[in-house]
Amino acid sequence: MQTIPIPHVDPLPLPGPVWLFTALLLVVFTLHVVAMNSALGGGIWALWNYLRGRHASHPYSHRLARELASMLPVFLAFTVTLGVAALLFVQVLFGNFLYASSILIGVLWLAVIPLVMVAYYGFYYFSYTAEQGKGVSGCVLAISVCVLLGIAFIFVNNMTLMESPERWLAMYRAHPNGWNLNLGDHSVIPRYLHIVNGAIALFSAILAYLGMRKMKVDAEYGRWIVQRSALIFTACTGLQFLLGMWLLLAIPRAIALALLLDPLGGAVFGLALMSVIAAMLLILLGSLAEKPSSLVYAGFAMSLVTLFLMVCLRYLLRLAYLKPYVNLGALAIRPQIGVIALFLLLFVGGLATVGYMLWLVARSGKAPVTAVAPY
């Protein structure tokens, strides 16, 4: 039998403790997923409402599509920015697995870069032209959304492939030029659908939150958003249970059992189930009333908690997959204490700077128009 080739770990020690890299990875990846779900789920929402809003009988849809249009490029900007951080930290811990699987699907993996540019410029085009209601806007947005769906598919292929070293050699020998996909893995399709459906669900929860805020300026429009997004959130979350079950069944039995029977894995799984049910009930109950109540806010918060738990579960699943090949506890460590401290300091400073700029923007929104002089 052919041995399974695993690239050896870098001879240099890790420049920080494993727990710190893990924590940073989980946090930035969660934020990345929030932004990604906003870009992808928001793109789908915008497209649907743009098409619906072309009829005069749906003015709210038209308005929502227009409002989403200006947000989409920002969502995508932060998807990329936060994704870079996640990519950085995952390379530290699992670089030897990620580089290998990326090379195996090299052509498609590199295609992500021009594809993101296409989607990004499409979003910008849509945001500049949506107001004018040109027919071509819808087409461009549809292309952007399709491209994002394609990128998600490439990512799912790579993220599953990096956890399956036993597939690598045969795949490499079949196509050393990087024209591979991991479709031989039965979990790829359900995982992909789970992620796309999850993106629509999470963005619906975000939209419910935005709708609640909107109600303060335009009660009827805000209520329309809340109720509509609550409905989609509930439907998608219901579907998510089925897709989740499919995914669990598609994962090799031993790995699924190892994950769920592990005290930590089982606990995270149980908590995620509880929190998603809570999110669903809260958003549904909150939105049903004539005047949606603040339960929607709680439901939105619970959906974010669910997302974080799912991200943790995904990490534990990766550990379960890679258990025969990786032992993070055995890695040599030589922490660069001074640089870590500097990073944390600058991180806080960076957040404060962004907060300050947002405060400037918020303050200007409240100021009377006369305060904004041209010079």
Binding site: V80, Y99, A100, W168, P176, F343, V361, A367
Partner: protein
Amino acid sequence: MNYPLWQLAIPGGMLIALVAVLHVFVSHFAVGGGFFLVLTENLARRQKDAALLDYCRRHSRFFALLTLVFGAISGVGIWFTIGLVSPEATSTLIHTFVWAWAIEWVFFFVEIAAAIIYYRTWDSLPARDHQIVGWIYFVAAWMSLFVINGILTFMLTPGRWIETQNFWDGMFNPTFLPSLVARSAVSVILAGIFGYVTLPRQEGREKVARLAALWMIAGALVLPLALWWYFARIPQFSRLYLNGVLIGVRHAVRGGVGFTLLALAIALVCGVWKPRWMRAPVVALLVICGLGMIGAGEYLREFVRKPWVINQVIYANDVRAAQMETLQAKGVSHTANFLLTDDTTSAAYGENLFHLQCGSCHAAQGYRGMRRRVEGWDSEFAADILQHLPMMHGTMPPYAGDEVDRKALGSYLAALNPAWHFEITDGNRLEVGERVFEARCGHCHSVNGNFRPLRGVFENQTPAQVQEMFPALGAMSPNMPNFNAPDDQAQALAFYISHEAGKPLLHKPAPPEMPTGTTHSQLVRPAQPRLEVR
């Protein structure tokens, strides 16, 4: 050897170069252009110049569309590409500098947020606040350049890090400062060049045109000094590449200087003197000059690091220096993780080795293609010469494999071209001799040039005397391959060498100092033959 090798139709290094040049072009504009915007906005507001302010607003939209999308995403593109082409080196950089990248990411995050706010709030933010956001943008952008510059310069001049493996030694390495100044100057030049892209058609045209030219000139005044400082700090072997021996380097130097001077000339003529001449085609030419300048600079920066990707740590083909002995002792077949075949006697194994060892810089054909380089080689000679790779211009890493591997790769290389058969006559003897010289000797020697000249050895010798020396060549120096050409070719070669060495020299060749690879290999540099000028 550790990772699967992505087999592309082009050398992997070329792919990195393509992505990197485009990214560097836009990302330096992202730094300089931010500075340009915030200063020009300030000028417009102080002078209450509505046309100039309107220009800033339009320019900021162009700026955001180019830098936020293309600039930022192509930067991620470099990450993706280096991970695919040089995973070993990427891993080492990550293990050394992950916190530097994390810090850079903080600045990047602030930069993106500030850019979005800046270009979207011309109408809503008070003048002072808007400029504050602009300054935040510029500082964050320049700081991200500051950090990345440390990692980039580390790759050529790791300095004391080699002994200490201390983060700060690697970061603030010998070329950190000169490179930072040079990159900042380039950013200022690019700010001027791109400033023309949104040049107003009517009102304010002349003012903007002159302002942009001023930026280009200011950057161009600092750049040569910074580059001179930079080249004074790079390693000896890198400096030797610039002495004119290598054609590619020569072209790059000329191209870089030429593009920069042309851009300056355009700025002076169509920017300062006759702003109405600054039409779209001229602006396009200016942008191309900017790209050419960046392309040449990046080419040189990458080239002078050869044969390393990280100096003294990892070779350009992603093989660790520390792995070399194991690879040469045990062979690739017992060391590499991802081979396409297990049969070390097959032709497929030779091809696989070629991709593994040479694929980062060479393809079988095309740019840096091997087919024309191995013309006239037989498999024995090819296998032999693989032992002496660092002697060939010093740009090549040592061969990482055992004897079986050398034979397999030698056979593959020799098979790229059919064997030579000449009908040698008195009429073509010199011409054939020259071709044999190029194939057998020309990779490491010239007869009369400054490239390890052989004149001193063979001067005043008859063809027969020259040919007598051939069988002993392999024993003359550990860096010489054995001579095994067929008799008729040997005869032609001897005739050519004797003929060339006997020619009167018109001028004294440049000193024979050149990169030999001895800075980075265990091989001994041969004693240079003494050159006498008639």
